[in-house]
C-alpha cells in the first residue's frame, strides 16, 4: 500500500520541518510540493501559482484584516477601563464578585474582536492588577481570565472561523451565527463554576466595602453602551442578512475609530500602530492560508485524504468514538501548534473523512474551534498562557494549572454540543438573508 507510506512520509516531513523552526506557511508549502513532486506528474509550479492566486483574492477573506484591525483599534482605546468600571457595580453582589468581570468582560470583548490572545491582553491589562489589589485569589483571577479569553475564538467575529469558512467554502456568516449559542453556553458554565467555587470557599473572595448606589449602576450602564451598540451593530447586521461579514467588519472599523476618537484615545500614533499591527497579523494568517490552500490541492492530487476517509469509514466507528478520537488528536496537536495551523491542517487532510462520516461541516467548525480554545490554555504552546505570562511574569505552568478547571469546562461544553448539536445549528437555520 504505497499511499500509506506516502502519507506517513509526508506527516513525518511536516513535523520535522515544523519542529526544525521553519515558518508554518513554508512548512505547508514544502510538504505540498514534496507530495506533488514525488508522487504525481502534475505541473507543480503552475498549480502552485494558480492555486495561491485563486485563494488569495477573495471577497469573503477581506473580513479577516478588517476584523483584526477593529480589534487593534479597540485594544488601544479606553474600552477595557470602561468595561471594568461599567461591569463592576453590577457584579459585586454575586458570589465570586469581581471575578465575573473577567468572564463577562472577555465575553463582551470577544464579541468585538476575533482573537483570544487580544482578548486576554485587553481585559487582563485592566483586571489582573485591579483584582490583585483587592485581594482576590490569584489562581481564580488567572484561570478565569485564561479560560474566558478563549471565547474570543468562538464568539463572532472570529478570525479562526473566517479561516475555517474560507478553507472549507462554508458561509462565514452562518459560521459566525452558529458560534453564538455555544459561546453563551460556555459563559454560563464559567459563571456557574466561579459561583459554585465561591460558595465552597467562603472567605476566599474579599468583601467589597463600597455600597453601590443605583446611580452608580446606571452610570456603569452608560459606560457599557458604546460597546453594546457596536456588538449589536456587527452581529445583528450579519444575523439579519443586511450585511455580509466583510461589510460588517468595515463598518465595525469605522465605528471603532469613532469610539476611540470619542473617548479621546485616537491619535496619529495609535492609528498607525493599529493599522500596521493589523497588516502584520493578517499578512501572517493570509500566508498560512495560501500555504494551506496549496497543500489541500496537492493532497487532492496524492489521494491521501480520500484514502484516509475510506480507511476510517471501513472501521465502522460510531459518531462519538470518532469525535473522541479526533478530540484527543487535536488536543495533542494543539499542545505544539497554534490554532490557525491546526485548523488549516484539519481542513487540508481530514475534511473528506469528516464528511464521509456524515458529520455536518458547519457543526464541525464550531467543534474544532472549541478544541482549539482548549489548546490555547494547554502548555507548552498555549497562546493565552503566553499573553498572561507577558502581563504578569508568572510561569506558564502555574497559569496552566490555574486554567485547568476552565479546560475541563470547555471539555464539558464540547460534550454538550456533541450530544445536543442543535445548540450549534438552531440559530443558523433560523437566520435571515
Amino acid at each position: 500500500m504505497p499511499e500509506l507510506f506516502l502519507a506517513l512520509f509526508l506527516l513525518i516531513l511536516l513535523f520535522a520541518l515544523l519542529a526544525g523552526g521553519l515558518w508554518v506557511a513554508f512548512s505547508l508549502l514544502v510538504v505540498g510540493m514534496a507530495g506533488m513532486a514525488l508522487f504525481t506528474d502534475a505541473p507543480l509550479g503552475s498549480v502552485l501559482a494558480t492555486t495561491v492566486w485563486g485563494a488569495s483574492n477573495s471577497w469573503s477573506l477581506a473580513a479577516l484584516p478588517l476584523f483584526i484591525w477593529m480589534g487593534e483599534i479597540l485594544f488601544r482605546s479606553r474600552l477595557s477601563e470602561d468595561m471594568f468600571a461599567g461591569l463592576a457595580p453590577w457584579l459585586t453582589h454575586l458570589p465570586g464578585r469581581l471575578v465575573h468581570v473577567n468572564i463577562l468582560g472577555c465575553a463582551l470583548f470577544a464579541a468585538v474582536s476575533g482573537s483570544s490572545a487580544a482578548t486576554a491582553a485587553t481585559i487582563g491589562k485592566m483586571s489582573i492588577p485591579e483584582l490583585k489589589r483587592r485581594g482576590y485569589p490569584e489562581s481564580l483571577i488567572l484561570g478565569s481570565l485564561a479560560g474566558s479569553a478563549t471565547l474570543g475564538l468562538l464568539i463572532p467575529p472570529s478570525i479562526i472561523l473566517i479561516v475555517y469558512g474560507v478553507a472549507t467554502e462554508q458561509s462565514i456568516a452562518r459560521l459566525f451565527v452558529a458560534g453564538v449559542l455555544p459561546g453563551v453556553l460556555l459563559i454560563g458554565l464559567f459563571i456557574a463554576y466561579v459561583t459554585a467555587w465561591s460558595f465552597l470557599h467562603p472567605g476566599a473572595i474579599p468583601e467589597e466595602k463600597v455600597e453601590v448606589s443605583l446611580r452608580g449602576k446606571l452610570k456603569g450602564l452608560t459606560l457599557l453602551m458604546p460597546v453594546t451598540l457596536l456588538i449589536l451593530g456587527v452581529i445583528g447586521s450579519i444575523y439579519s442578512g443586511i450585511a455580509s461579514p466583510t461589510d460588517a467588519a468595515a463598518v465595525g472599523v469605522v465605528l471603532s475609530l469613532g469610539l476611540s476618537a470619542w473617548s479621546g484615545t485616537l491619535n496619529r500614533q495609535n492609528f498607525i500602530e493599529g493599522l500596521l499591527g493589523a497588516t502584520k497579523t493578517s499578512c501572517m494568517i493570509s500566508f498560512i492560508l495560501v500555504g494551506a490552500a496549496f497543500l489541500t490541492v496537492a493532497m487532492g492530487f496524492t489521494g491521501i485524504p480520500k484514502m484516509l476517509a475510506v480507511w476510517i469509514g471501513g472501521m465502522g466507528l460510531s459518531h462519538y468514538t470518532l469525535l473522541a478520537a479526533l478530540t484527543v488528536f487535536f488536543i495533542v496537536m494543539g499542545c505544539f501548534l497554534d490554532g490557525i495551523s491546526v485548523v488549516v491542517l484539519t481542513t487540508s487532510v481530514i475534511m473528506p473523512m469528516v464528511e464521509q462520516a456524515g458529520i455536518d461541516v458547519l457543526w464541525f467548525g464550531i467543534f474544532v474551534v472549541i478544541v482549539v480554545e482548549m489548546a490555547q490554555i494547554t502548555p507548552p504552546v498555549g497562546f493565552n498562557l503566553f499573553v498572561i505570562q507577558g502581563l504578569t511574569g508568572i510561569d506558564i505552568l502555574r497559569i496552566a494549572a490555574a486554567a485547568l478547571p476552565f479546560f475541563l469546562l470547555l471539555m464539558l461544553g464540547l460534550a454538550l454540543i456533541s450530544i445536543f448539536p442543535q445548540i450549534v445549528t438552531v440559530l443558523p437555520m433560523m437566520m435571515g438573508g
Binding site: L22, F26, P65, T279, K280, C283, F336
Partner: protein, 188 residues
C-alpha cells in the same frame, strides 16, 4: 544598498497597510451607498441602484496585493509564525545552523514560487485574461502585485540568509520568541 533594501521592505509594509485601509474605505463606501438606496426605496418607492462597479473584485485584488506586498516586512518584524519550542532550547551555535537551514529552504521555495508567479503574470498578459466583473480588469495587473510581493520576500530571505551565513543573527529571528502583549503576532 542596506538603506535601499530596508526602504524596500518598509515600503512593502506601508503599501500593505494602505491596501487594508483602502479595502475598508471601499467597503464602507459601498455600504453607505446601499444605505442611501434603502432609504430611497422606503421614501420614493424605488431604488436608485447605486453600486461601485465590481467592488467585490477590487476588494479581493486589494486583499491579495496587501498580503503579498507586506510579506517581507512581516518577516523582518518576526511576524510569521514558527514553532520555537525545540529550537529555542538549542545551544547558540546550533541555533545559527537552524537559522541557516530555515532561510535556505525558505529562499529556495520563494524563488521557485516567484518564478512561476512571473510565468502566471506573463500568461495572463499574453492571453489578455480579464476579471469577470462589470469592469473587466486585465488580470496581470493585480497578479503583478502578488509577483512583486514575492520578489521582495525572496530578496529579504536571501538578504537574511547571507547575514546568517556570515555569522550574524538574521533579522527574522531577532524578534521571534519575544511575546508581544498586544496579541499582535501570536495566537489567534
Amino acid at each position: 544598498m542596506r538603506k535601499f533594501l530596508n526602504g524596500l521592505y518598509t515600503l512593502g509594509g506601508w503599501l500593505g497597510a494602505g491596501c487594508i485601509a483602502a479595502i475598508c474605505l471601499l467597503v464602507v463606501s459601498q455600504v453607505g451607498l446601499n444605505l442611501i438606496d434603502r432609504i430611497a426605496t422606503v421614501t420614493t418607492g424605488h431604488a436608485i441602484g447605486m453600486t461601485i462597479p465590481s467592488y467585490a473584485d477590487f476588494t479581493g485584488f486589494l486583499l491579495a496585493a496587501g498580503a503579498f506586498l507586506s510579506l517581507a516586512w512581516t518577516l523582518r518584524q518576526g511576524g510569521h509564525i514558527r514553532v520555537s519550542l525545540v529550537t529555542s532550547h538549542l545551544p547558540n551555535w546550533l541555533q545559527s545552523w537552524v537559522d541557516i537551514w530555515c532561510l535556505a529552504v525558505a529562499s529556495a521555495v520563494t524563488a521557485y514560487f516567484t518564478w512561476y508567479t512571473a510565468l502566471l503574470v506573463l500568461e495572463s498578459w499574453h492571453y489578455h485574461d480579464l476579471s469577470a466583473g462589470m469592469i473587466a480588469v486585465p488580470l496581470w495587473i493585480p497578479q503583478f502585485f502578488m509577483f512583486f510581493g514575492l520578489l521582495i520576500l525572496t530578496v529579504a530571505l536571501i538578504d537574511d540568509f547571507v547575514l546568517s551565513v556570515t555569522g550574524h543573527l538574521p533579522v527574522s529571528s531577532r524578534k521571534a520568541g519575544t511575546e508581544d502583549v498586544t496579541g499582535n503576532e501570536e495566537g489567534i
